[in-house]
Subunit: 398 residues, 2 copies
Amino acid sequence: MTVTTIDFQWPAGFYNDGIEIGLGTVDKKDFGYLFSEVPATAAGTYTTNQFQAAPTKLTKNTINHNHHLQAVVVNSAIANSCTGVQGEQDAQTEQQLLGEKLGISPDLVGVASTGLIGAPLPMDKIKAGIAQLQPATDDGVTQAVLTTDTHAKKACVQVELDGQTVTIAGFCKGSGMIHPKMATMLGFVTTDAAIDGELLQHTLSTGVDTTFNQITVDGDTSTNDMVVVMANGLAKNAELTSTTDADYAAFAEALHVVLGELAKQIAADGEGATKLVECNVSGAFNDQEGQQVAKAIVGSNLVKAAIFGQDPNWGRIISTIGATDAHVDIDHVSITLNGILMVQDSLAVPFDLDTAVDAMKENQVTIDVTLNSGNATGQAWGCDLTYNYVKINASYHT
Amino acid sequence: MTVTTIDFQWPAGFYNDGIEIGLGTVDKKDFGYLFSEVPATAAGTYTTNQFQAAPTKLTKNTINHNHHLQAVVVNSAIANSCTGVQGEQDAQTEQQLLGEKLGISPDLVGVASTGLIGAPLPMDKIKAGIAQLQPATDDGVTQAVLTTDTHAKKACVQVELDGQTVTIAGFCKGSGMIHPKMATMLGFVTTDAAIDGELLQHTLSTGVDTTFNQITVDGDTSTNDMVVVMANGLAKNAELTSTTDADYAAFAEALHVVLGELAKQIAADGEGATKLVECNVSGAFNDQEGQQVAKAIVGSNLVKAAIFGQDPNWGRIISTIGATDAHVDIDHVSITLNGILMVQDSLAVPFDLDTAVDAMKENQVTIDVTLNSGNATGQAWGCDLTYNYVKINASYHT
């Protein structure tokens, strides 16, 4: 089971395009699509926000219908969320128009939007945009989905299944309003693997739990976001149909690598962030509590601000642990920050402050915590809280 | 039942002192005490953090022993938290020494600390400090408890009980690490009312639920914090012993006013804050959900940053509502910001942007939300997220 990370390339049979149709105030690509030359099995995970946006609801219903998609139309700048009946009609119109253009059933078209909540889509621009889309092999769509992201986020691996080389290529956007309980960003994964749709759904849902659902930028869960996987089978491996298939574990691992890489890229590019923060919890009572504690630590404003300030303030970490309801041996917690032991048996361990501050100047800060309450682990990723986070979010509307 | 707010004054028989003994790096009062000339009934609420600091545990045990206190010794700058057996001994030594100085049992002395987690108390300075304390009638102790607070927080009311004028005077500290599940700050309320200790505990616990437990600055729950009430009976009203006593409701209301005023002062003085944010939720399924939604809104980093930027970004408010698991009629939510209706039936209502931005320049921003799911309400208070919040917390250690 060798999963090899490679430079980004589309799996066999996938095309895309990204263009600028003037949806936002920034001069960037804001509209695009993703297209497989044959129908693909498909799976998705969707935001748990009660105000699920029109495109998110529509894509969920479309995928759940029979777990197949052949194309996805995406836009940034406008979320088409909290837009009522009009918003639902607009999302359906996008689905219909892209289906007509590609000569496929609208039931095979997913729709995704991200951006400002409450504004309607300008459908004249959308219609003109759909007419312009061309099947390209560059990465335009990976640019078109971005909002406050500073760069495109992509990950690609190859793995051998049934003697065939399978490629899994994913991209995503997400920078603010990131605290997935399901998927709080837009993520798209394409693969030429052959896999049953329901099994793909199971694999995605499991993979998301320990990747996208374990990142946080600001604790806010968006109305729009989703992760969609399309598998078109053009790699010609024998179709995976069960978790007990010989090659299933390799596929699941390869997909997990892509999801994990994308999730970490989102955390590292959190709004205003200067550092990726990774928290590894061990000694947890169970996996759920390990993940809970890890996510609480990377989600604490005080921890995040301290990391921005390169301040090895472990008191905020232990306080955050204690504020959870996870099982904790309160007399035997250890905390290590970028390799420097700071707390053992819940007591301060003397360390050299200058060395610790220097260690925190790295682009990644790693916090290792042991709870001494069991054998389970948990991981989570976040970023520091900076002046720029405040600046970006204090002036988003204008 | 007339509760009258008056300028701060100590109730009959209470004295205090606040002095500087050099615990921190800032030139300010950092040590003090509070003292009643007769034993008082006492009640407390304490942080729910699993790592409860030594002074917090000691005071909780002392009060729970028989609900009486006569004095409290307090310090700022050092939290005496995560300090192990030494920390527990140090807190007991403080209790013992203040008892000896005042000629009272150590069982009548509470201990409170706030500041940096993990550092030991310098007991030589503490001992010298206790020796220096004098029974004054100014407000030195209200200064001595402060950390990153920009000013002392005090509230005082009078109410007539049984023909006697009763004074209730409270003060508190709290600026960062504020997200009480019980009490995430230090709060002290003194009164000359006569009230049974267990009834006082009930009254405090109930009052805290809708006041201190409904404020948030940064979502972090501290290890140290508590609210303590002392009632010394010198107003000579007939002792309140039951919630059915004729005057009980008046006392409870008066105490609630003091707790509410103190809580709002903490929210308004949150680290780096420029504005108090008040959220009023109506149409909630029950009180608990109303409070949950109100607190989620004032706790959202995105909402807080938008308010700092005077950006009427209601999308972040509705997204925060949807991210809770409270009952919400998702097609009939209304949102009003400083009196301007922005969302009705979950859809955008056109409003003049300049007028809305102007309205948000006030020192207080009020968010009114209707969930249309019941008849219950909830309130919460917070503050905006500013550059200064980041600055203060990125450089706390040094």
